[in-house]
Symmetry: C2
Subunit: 420 residues, 2 copies
């Protein structure tokens, strides 16, 4: 099913029902092929208008704008919920992914007071590992980072093995990513939830590289908690607020460690003692970021319009094409796949391992050919995004990558902080 | 020096060097007199352009925009620093006030491991009290909320008295507000810092109602840590990011409890173990909110242009006029001052206590006369803001308040959530 010529790729683009969605985004003239929408999603055309409306409300209504804005964290959360496979009343948009990870992981530890072990993935995104390390430094607590290899997401079976190595009733929290930030490996979320629950532990998912890209069924899969970025596949813009999910059945037993006035029951009574709000609203802390909420709301609109099934269908086709082209053109140059070899457990991006990946990423950007992230130690990360990447772009990107990998300059290209 | 007629107030407005600054803000046609800039500051004319520039950068540069955006939390912090009396390299703009309070209070407790007592103010803003309550729930810890009365800010002398009632070496943290959110009482910050330090405790200031309104000298006064809102006197817009200050000499001994990748030394090495960044940057958690940073940057520009001395001079004149008018027109209707009676320890707003304050706030908004906040139990809070409130507005606002307080409808006005 994978295009075997540029013409065929172009024909598939023409026939693809998602091709018109590209027009919902701002494109400048020319520019490199953008394979980094999982780092910062493109700007929807609707964003500017959404921000202008907030400015108008602020100018006209001043503080009375809060009559409308106060409920936005929950309202945008509810609009996002279908992308997560979640019913309403369980999702909030607020704070950063790091802060939300902290709030929910700490809440889980407090809800399982006799249990001192946290299980994570040694190959998970840094902020996940760091937040867990920070929480595990409390005396008696222990963080077990499991190393199943860089291209394998922990599944129910692996977790069973890990749990067999701990005493019964020892594990409080299992915290993993739904799609690995580097390899793109997809976790067996239902399997992990099931195994963790049978051991009495809670599960927290980081879905930053999953939400908006792969099908998710948080409710059906039995997830307890999840968080994710607003600025990747959700197109919320640089530093957009993050989202969090807490299953309704868990609201009563989980509470934020950050006791803020926006998570307080009867917020404007301003009473003497903190009492968490009844629903998911208890996980708010401070005043919600209204500009960010409007921008994220505009960011998810194209996703909701297209629907995850159509997006996922195209994503798989783009990733398959990318994998086939990479094998053909980059394999002979010493590159190898650092994603799961089978398409089954692969998410929306692909990792290519090469000793000069860092310099290749630099040169690709410097020559305005392709934008793709470098991830240590040796990975070039490529994300074709179903809403706005075409098959022809994927087709064309790979020879560009080959051109820099085979260029002698790749051996002497300077490293750089952000551009790498 | 206080105007004794509307004509005199108008003449003073004409002569005032700050009057032209009003044009730096967006004003709609007509509208009520706005005395709520300490809840949500007005929108600077520069904000729309600042946001448009971020949208342009996002569209044109995509992920490479981070070359510019990555340093914004510190850069905007440095630009804000003069308003706080702080040298560079000590201020960050990030997260919400609640989250920043939590990070810094937790950091202080961890830096004073043998000490278990937190001292706060029973009349402080809810989120301050709640955050401290949350941190004090750890076994052994104790929160001592001092009640010096609703219109008195704790000073060095009162703190000495409180500390005399604790065992030596017991207090880890003193956390107070620089200007009380309700009464407007101004704290003796230097005195408190001094007394607390002599007892070996650290001091954390909430300056949400102080920054941008009253003169501050964090460096000279010996403050350890401070936080404050971006959306009040700093005009950053609804839910704008907050700021935090940590004295340079304290950076090495204080670290955030939220171990995030943006506070990590060598962030893009993505190494296995969290190591806090060397400077104030260690207090970042997740990805900075670029739209919010741009909006706050535009919000503080008029303040930096006017300078705190000129602003403070006009603020005192506005508050004095308001106090005199309130005494004359509202006193006979049963209202009394709930701010310090002397102008000396008064900040930028005034609190008027009346049994029907809640309904009065509602009616004043409903009739589009005056926007002023109600604060439980019985306070109408009035904030004339030097950058954009005129003496004539202050002059005219008070009879409007008198009109609703003497209207029989005030006894039957419905309460409401946000408008109260």
């Amino acid at each position: 099913m994978t295009a075997s010529s540029r013409e065929q790729a172009a024909a598939e683009d023409r026939a693809c029902p998602l091709t018109p969605y590209r027009d919902l985004f701002v494109f400048g003239a020319g520019g490199p092929i953008y394979l980094d929408g999982n780092s910062l999603g493109r700007q929807p055309r609707g964003t500017a208008g959404a921000l202008a409306r907030v400015l108008e409300e602020w100018a006209d209504d001043l503080v009375q704008g809060w009559d409308r804005w106060a409920g936005l964290s929950a309202a945008v959360g509810d609009r996002l919920a279908p992308l997560l496979g979640a019913a309403g009343g369980q999702v909030l948009v607020c704070d950063s992914t790091t802060v939300n990870l902290y709030k929910l992981a700490a809440a889980a530890l407090e809800a399982r007071p006799g249990r001192q072990v946290i299980v994570g993935d040694a190959h998970d995104f840094p902020t996940v590992r760091y937040v867990l390390q920070g929480l595990a430094r409390q005396p008696g607590r222990r963080l077990r980072l499991v190393d199943a290899g860089p291209t394998v997401a922990l599944g129910g079976e692996e977790l069973s093995g890990v749990l067999a190595g701990t005493a019964a009733g020892e594990v409080a929290l299992v915290c993993l990513s739904g799609v690995n930030y580097r390899s793109g490996a997809v976790a067996d979320m239902a399997g992990v939830n099931d195994v963790a629950h049978r051991a009495g532990a809670l599960v927290l998912w980081d879905l930053s590289h999953a939400a908006g890209a792969v099908p998710l069924s948080l409710d059906a899969d039995g997830a307890d908690m999840a968080v994710g970025c607003g600025y990747k596949y959700l197109n919320g813009g640089p530093g957009a607020p993050s989202w969090l999910y807490v299953r309704a059945a868990r609201h009563a037993e989980l509470a934020s460690p950050i006791w803020g006035w926006w998570g307080q029951a009867g917020q404007f009574d301003m009473g003497p003692t903190y009492q968490p709000a009844p629903g998911v609203g208890r996980f708010l802390a401070g005043t919600p970021d209204v500009l960010g909420l409007a921008s994220l709301d505009a960011g998810i609109a194209p996703l909701l319009q297209a629907g995850i099934p159509a997006l996922w269908h195209k994503t798989r086709s783009l990733v398959a094409l990318l994998a086939a082209r990479a094998e053909e053109l980059l394999g002979p140059l010493g590159a190898s796949l650092a994603s799961p070899p089978d398409p089954g457990p692969r998410g929306g991006h692909l990792a290519i391992s090469h000793p000069h990946a860092r310099a290749a990423s630099y040169l690709l950007r410097q020559r305005r050919l392709v934008v793709a992230d470098f991830r240590p130690p040796d990975v070039l990360r490529l994300a074709p995004v179903a809403l706005y990447t075409s098959r022809v772009e994927v087709w064309d990107a790979v020879p560009h990558i080959a051109s820099v990998l085979s260029d002698p300059a790749v051996r002497s290209a300077p490293p750089s902080s952000w551009v790498t």
